[in-house]
């Protein structure tokens, strides 16, 4: 067969957060589409947008709307062709028996978060609730959740699929209180699929084939989570199985949320996109609104029959 070589750059190392792609490779779905796909993991100092824009990688599962906006703002020629996580993938966690019972209680407390986009969500939530972010001690968050477990930190940011699991297993879920962005009317979709403008223009069939195979992979992963975990753990055997099973379940929740049941996986919800853009413009993270039409391109998804895309 005459396969087209292509690579997918992930935002991080192998884990079930990306299970669908690995399953699709394992089951040969990309090959079926004529694509010889290599999955390249991310790293602490790599940005998928950069690698896709320069042509080092064909596809990217990048940080999220935050990184897509930042890239477009810096004139990186990338296009978002799909969004995986329809909801804000992280929550803010406090102790159930602690002093923080409501958003209002954030005032004067120590909150740690990632300064890679999550901080803007936090600011927006605070502002929405009439709190001046300056009154909250906001600090960069470290990898380890131990400071929170040990009570040195009042509120911690946690992805639903990673840190939350760690905290939960160390403290017990009942000991935790979570704050969700959507409760304040904010949505921050993440895990975006991107290609370069060139690829979008010159190889639309490649993109379509990639999406088709990826969706198939994800649907298989949802249908057979144990098998999907096996596939991923074969690549990264040092991972914790229970954690990975939990992660896949959480990823599924995030991926099938919002309008996905009607519009299919990887749906780009332009309403959520606009909310997020406003958030960034207000926070002066991007200098000006970007050209949304040029940045988000649903045509590749739309070319796939809706029935195939529905979870």
């Amino acid at each position: 067969a005459d396969l087209t070589k292509a690579t997918l750059r992930l935002k991080w190392l192998p884990q079930t957060q990306f299970a669908g792609f690995y399953v699709a490779v394992a089951k040969g779905y990309y090959k079926d589409e004529g694509i010889d796909l290599t999955i390249n993991p991310g790293g602490p100092n790599l940005l998928a947008e950069n690698l896709v824009a320069t042509g080092a990688d064909t596809f990217g599962l990048s940080g999220g709307l935050d990184s897509v906006f930042a890239a477009r703002d810096k004139n990186l020629p990338i296009v978002c062709i799909g969004v995986a996580h329809q909801l804000t993938p992280f929550v803010f966690v406090a102790r159930a028996d602690g002093p923080v019972k409501t958003i209002q209680d954030f005032k004067g407390k120590t909150v740690t978060t990632w300064f890679t986009g999550a901080n803007h969500v936090l600011n927006a939530i605070l502002t929405k609730n009439g709190i001046d972010p300056a009154l909250v001690t906001i600090q960069p968050q470290q990898v380890s959740v131990t400071p929170f477990v040990d009570g040195q930190v009042d509120v911690i940011t946690a992805t639903r699929y990673n840190e939350f699991y760690t905290i939960k297993t160390r403290m017990g879920e009942e000991k935790l209180r979570t704050f969700v962005a959507e409760d304040s009317g904010i949505t921050f979709p993440r895990d975006t699929l991107i290609v370069s403008e060139t690829t979008a223009k010159e190889k639309p069939d490649l993109v379509k084939g990639f999406l088709r195979a990826s969706i198939k992979g994800w649907k298989d992963a949802f249908a057979d989570p144990k098998g999907a975990v096996d596939t991923v753990m074969a690549l990264a055997p040092t991972l914790d199985r229970a954690h990975q099973e939990f992660q896949l379940a959480e990823a599924k929740k995030l991926m099938v949320a919002g309008k996905v049941p009607e519009k299919g996986l990887f749906n780009i919800d332009m309403d959520a996109v606009k909310i997020t853009q406003d958030l960034f413009v207000n926070a002066k993270v991007i200098s000006k609104p970007v050209d949304l039409a040029a940045t988000f391109n649903s045509s590749f998804l739309d070319a796939i029959p809706l029935a195939d895309r529905k979870p």
Partner: protein, 271 residues
């Protein structure tokens, strides 16, 4: 002289051949015994003081993890070793080569050397994307970083070594009518060899650092990957397991280079 004999027990007089064979074996056994003792002490400390595993896991747990899933560690070891070797070999070759060139072309050296120095102040990790861009997502990308960290000390010491040639020795060979090439092969290079090996020993550690850091730029196999995985999943046991494997790799590689040094520089560095 006396210093060189001290650091090169191989050249010391005395000792029957069977004893010579037995001695390294005994030393190895002693090392192993110390190692076992250290792990036992560690285990005891963790148990007695009830140290939480997030801070310090018990060595038995670490070894159990290594035993249960050896594949990633073995593969990681091999991959990182390969990258280290490629980077080290190319860095050493380039370092020595450019050292020779600089020795001959002083103007070039004065022009370029400061740039070399500046280049060594750059933390490579900042340029993950550039490395991937230039060298792709291949083994060679990691080897390139190992190379970058390796060549510089080798260049510096090659130069230092070449310049430490006794001018009287050079005069002697010239009085025999030696050509520049003969001078290089018969005098200058051998004289520089001890210094070069000092750098190679240092470079053996640096090459490993380069390979591990290189693996942070999007890779699936390698000790660096395992470290990163362990760090971000707070898998302290895995971090320790990887650390021990790295220590084994580092120590072995260093020992091999040091062994090669004893073999090739049997006469020691005469100061």
């Amino acid at each position: 002289m006396s210093a060189s004999t001290l650091s090169h027990p191989a050249s010391a007089p005395g000792g029957s051949s069977s004893l010579k064979l037995l001695l390294p074996l005994l030393r190895l056994l002693r090392g192993l015994a110390i190692l076992v003792a250290v792990f036992a002490l560690w285990e005891a400390l963790v148990v007695v003081f009830a140290i939480r595993p997030y801070y310090l896991p018990r060595p038995s747990v670490i070894f159990a993890a290594l035993w249960q899933t050896p594949a990633p560690y073995v593969q990681g070891f091999l991959r990182t070793l390969t990258e280290t070797l490629i980077g080290f070999a190319s860095g050493a070759a380039f370092g020595i080569g450019i050292g020779l060139v600089f020795f001959r072309l002083r103007a070039l050296r004065e022009l370029v050397f400061p740039l070399f120095i500046v280049s060594q102040t750059i933390p490579v990790i900042a340029f993950g994307a550039l490395v991937v861009l230039w060298f792709g997502n291949t083994l060679f990308a990691k080897a390139a970083i190992a190379f970058y960290l390796t060549f510089f000390p080798v260049t510096v010491n090659t130069l230092l070594g070449l310049e430490s040639v006794d001018p009287r020795q050079e005069a002697l060979l010239r009085s025999f009518g030696a050509s520049p090439r003969q001078l290089m092969m018969r005098l200058q290079f051998p004289t520089a060899l001890p210094q070069i090996f000092v750098a190679l020993r240092l470079a053996s550690s640096l090459a490993l650092v380069g390979a591990i850091v290189g693996e942070w730029f999007g890779d699936t196999v390698g000790l660096g990957v395992l470290l990163l995985q362990g760090m971000y999943t707070e898998n302290v046991v895995s971090i320790w397991a990887t650390l021990l494997v790295s220590a084994f790799l580092g120590t072995t590689f260093y020992a091999v280079v040091a062994g090669a040094e004893r073999l090739f520089v049997f006469w020691g560095a005469e100061q």
